[in-house]
C-alpha cells in the first residue's frame, strides 16, 4: 500500500471497494494493528494507532469482523460475545477466585448485556450452541455481535454479505443500517457486491493496487471514469488468463 489517505467521518457508513488484491483487507489489518505500515500514520480521534498491539486498538474503539468468519468455534454463542466484552470487564484474578460481590455483579451484568446483543442479532434462542454448529448467516451476525460487544466507535466489516443469497443480503444491509442508526456507530465496510455498497454507503473509497483511485458519494463513484476503467480492466485481464 502506498500513499493512501482516507478520512472516515463520524457516524457514516463508509465503504472501501476495489478489485481482488487491491489491498482492502490489508488496509483493515493495518487499522486493527495486525500489520504495521512501513510509513505513515493512522489516527483515531487524534490518537496514533501505528505500532499499537491489536488489543490496545480495540480498547480505543475499533472492532472488526473477518471476510472468512473467524469465530471461536468451540465456544458457545454467548461465550463468543462475552469474549468481546473482555476489555470492559474489570474482574481481577483474585476477585474471581474469591467470587467477590463485585465480580458476581459484573458477570451478571455482562451476561445480561450479552443476551441483549444476541437478541439484537436475533440469536437469543441459540445462546448455548457451539458457534461452529450455527448456520452460516447466524455466524455472520454472531461475529458482528461479538464485535459490537467491544463497544466500538468504528466498526470494520469485511465483506459481511459474502456467500449470502439476495434475501439474506438485504436483511444484512438493513441490519448494518440499523447499527449506525440505533447505536450510532461509525461503520467501515469492505464489500464486493456493488448493489450493497451503492445501497447503504454514504462515502465510498475505491482502492486499486494499494492506491486510492477515487473517493466520493455513490453517485460520484458510479460516474468516475477511473473506477470504470479499473473494473473493466480487471475484467479484461481475467479474460486474458
Amino acid at each position: 500500500m502506498d500513499g493512501l489517505d482516507i478520512e472516515i467521518k463520524e457516524k457514516t457508513i463508509h465503504s472501501v471497494i476495489g478489485p481482488n488484491g487491491a489491498g482492502k483487507t490489508t488496509f483493515f489489518n493495518c487499522i486493527t494493528g495486525f500489520y504495521k505500515p512501513e510509513a505513515g500514520e493512522i489516527l483515531l480521534e487524534n490518537h496514533s494507532l501505528v505500532g499499537l498491539m491489536p488489543d490496545r486498538i480495540v480498547r480505543l474503539g475499533i472492532a472488526r469482523t473477518y471476510q472468512n468468519i473467524r469465530l471461536f468455534p468451540d465456544l458457545t454463542a454467548i461465550e463468543n460475545v462475552l469474549v468481546g466484552m473482555h476489555a470492559h470487564l474489570k474482574s481481577s484474578y483474585l476477585g474471581i477466585i474469591l467470587n467477590t460481590p463485585f465480580v458476581k455483579k459484573e458477570e451478571q451484568e455482562a451476561e445480561a448485556e450479552a443476551n441483549r446483543l444476541l437478541k439484537f442479532v436475533n440469536l437469543e434462542t441459540k445462546a448455548n450452541m457451539l458457534s461452529k454448529h450455527l448456520p452460516y448467516g447466524d455466524q455472520r451476525r454472531l461475529e458482528i455481535a461479538r464485535a459490537l460487544a467491544t463497544r466500538p466507535k468504528l466498526l470494520c466489516l469485511d465483506e459481511p454479505t459474502a456467500g449470502m443469497n439476495s434475501g439474506e443480503t438485504q436483511a444484512m444491509c438493513d441490519f448494518i443500517q440499523s447499527l449506525r442508526d440505533d447505536l450510532g456507530i461509525t461503520i467501515m465496510l469492505i464489500e464486493h457486491q456493488m448493489r450493497v455498497v451503492m445501497g447503504i454507503s454514504e462515502i465510498i473509497t475505491v482502492l486499486d493496487y494499494g492506491k486510492k483511485l477515487a473517493e466520493g458519494t455513490p453517485d460520484e463513484i458510479k460516474r468516475n471514469p477511473k473506477v470504470i476503467e479499473a473494473y473493466l480492466g480487471q475484467g479484461s485481464a481475467a479474460q486474458a488468463h
Binding site: R70, F72, L75, E79, H86, I97, E107
Partner: protein, 555 residues
Amino acid sequence: MEQIRAIWRYGIKVGIIGGIVLILTALIGMIEVFTQRQIIADVVSMGHALYLAAGLFICYLAAERTTPAKPLWIISNSMFAGLTTAFFLVLLIILGRHVNLRLMFINASDLLLNNLLTFGVQGNDGLRLLLIAGMGVGLFTGLFYLLPKFLRTVILWSLAGSAFAGVLQELIRPILANNFPDVISEWLLTSDGLTLKGALSIFIFIALIVISWSIKGGGIRQGWQGLPKKQQSTWRTIGTIILLAVILIAPWRLGLFMSEVMTIVGLYVLLGLGLNIVVGYAGLLDLGYVAFFAIGAYVTALITSPEIMNLNWSFWSAIPFAIFFGILAGVLLGVPVLKMRGDYLAIATMGFGEIIRLLVLSDALRPFLGGSQGIGQIAKPQVLGFVFKGPQEIYYLIVAGCMLVIFVSWRLKDSRIGRAWKAMREDEDVAQAMGINLVSNKLLAFGTGAGFAALSGVIFGSKIGSIYPHSFNIMVSINIVCLIIFGGIGSIPGVIVGAAALIGLPELLREFAEYRFLVYGIALVVMMLIRPEGLWPEEAHKRELHEDKTNEATG
C-alpha cells in the same frame, strides 16, 4: 461366488491381520509370561485368557464386519477368520522347528512354540488341534454374534468383569480382608487366582447388575428428571456428602497400597489441573511442565532439609515459598516464549524442562542443589504433633490440595479470564482483535499452571522424603499432557478420570512391568481413534448435545 468373496473380504483378511497380531503377541513373550499367573486357579491362566480373548476378538470383528449380515455368512466368515489366524500360528510353529528363531526373537522359546500355543499338546497333533481350535473359536464366536444384542452385552460385561477381577486379584485381596469377613475372601480367591465358584459368582453378579440396570435404568433416569428441582438439589447434596465421606474414609478401608496409588493419582491430578489451564484452557502446548514440579520439590527440599542449606524450616513454611518460586519461574519462562506458537512453543518449553533437570543434576550446581545424589531428609508435614507420615495420612493433604486447585480451576473456567484463555486457544489473532491482552493472559496461564505444579511438587517432595533429578524427566511432562487429553481436554473431571486411568491403572499393574507401557501406548492410540474427545469431555459440548436433544423433542 458372492459368498466366497465375502469370506475373503471379511473372514480371511481379518484372519490375516489377526494372525499377525497373535504372532506378535506370542513373540513378545506376553503369552508365556502371563501363563505364570492364574485368573481362575488351575483352570485359566492369564496367558491363555489373553490368547483366547485375542482369538475371540478377531473372529468377532470378522462377524461384525460381514455385510449383508446373513447368519450363515457370519458363521462362515468368523470360522474362516479363526482358521486363518490359527494357520498363521501353525506356520510360526513350523518355522520355529526348522530355524532357531531365538537368535532374533528372544521370547520364541521352545515352551511357547511347542506347548503353550498348542494348548499343551506336542508334535503334529498339536498343530491339528490348533487348527481345529481356531475353527472352534470361530464357530463359537459366530454363534455368539447371532445371539440377541442384549444377551451379548450382558455376557461381554460379565466376562470382562470376571477377567478384570482375576487380573486385579492382588488388590482385591487386601481390600476384602480389610472390610469383609474372611468367608467372602475364601469363597472368591485362592492364594493364586480366583476360585472357579468365585469367578462364576462374579460373572452372575455382574450379569444381574447389567440386566437390572437395562430394565430399570431408563426408569430411574426418567424418575430423576421428573423430580422437582428442589428435591433434585437435596438429593445432590446428599450424594455429595456421601461422596465426601467415601473420599475421607477411603484410605483406611482400602489399605496401604491403594492409598499410595490414590496419593500418586492425586499428585498427577494437581499437575494435570495446572497443565489443563495452560494447554486445555489457554491452548499453549507446554512439554516442559515438569520444571515447575521440580522447582516446587526442590524449594521444599532446600528449605526443610538439614542437608545443603540446613534451614530446617517446617513443611508449611515451604509451601508459600515453593508456590512463589513456581509462579515466578512460570512467568519468567513464559516471557521468552510469548511470541512462539504451536510446536515451536512445545519444543522451547520442553527445552526449559530439560534445562532445569540438567541444572539440578549438574556437578556445577552440586553444592547448591545436591547433584545426582539428590536431597534427602525432607520434612514431613506436622500439625500439633500429628505427622503426615505414610500414604494414608499424606492422602488427606493431597485431597485438600486437589480440592483447592479444583475450586480455583472451576472459578477461573467460566470467568472473564477463563474466557480469554479459551478464546486464545481457539484463535490467538482474533482473541487479540477482541481486546484480549495476549501477554498478560498468557503469563497468567503460565503462572497459574506453574503454581499448581509447584504445590504438587511440595507434597511430592515431602511424601518421598528424598528427591533426585531423575524423578523430573521429560516423561513426566508427556504423561501429564497425555492424561489431560485422555480425560477430555479442558475438563476438570476429565483430568481426574484421565489421571486415574493413565497413572492409577499402570500403578496398580506395576507387576506387569514392561507390558503395561505397551498397553499404555496401545490404549492411547485406540482411545484417540475411537473417542478423541476423551473420557469425560468439557461441559460445553455436553450442554449443547443435551440442548439439541430437547430441541428435537420440542420441535
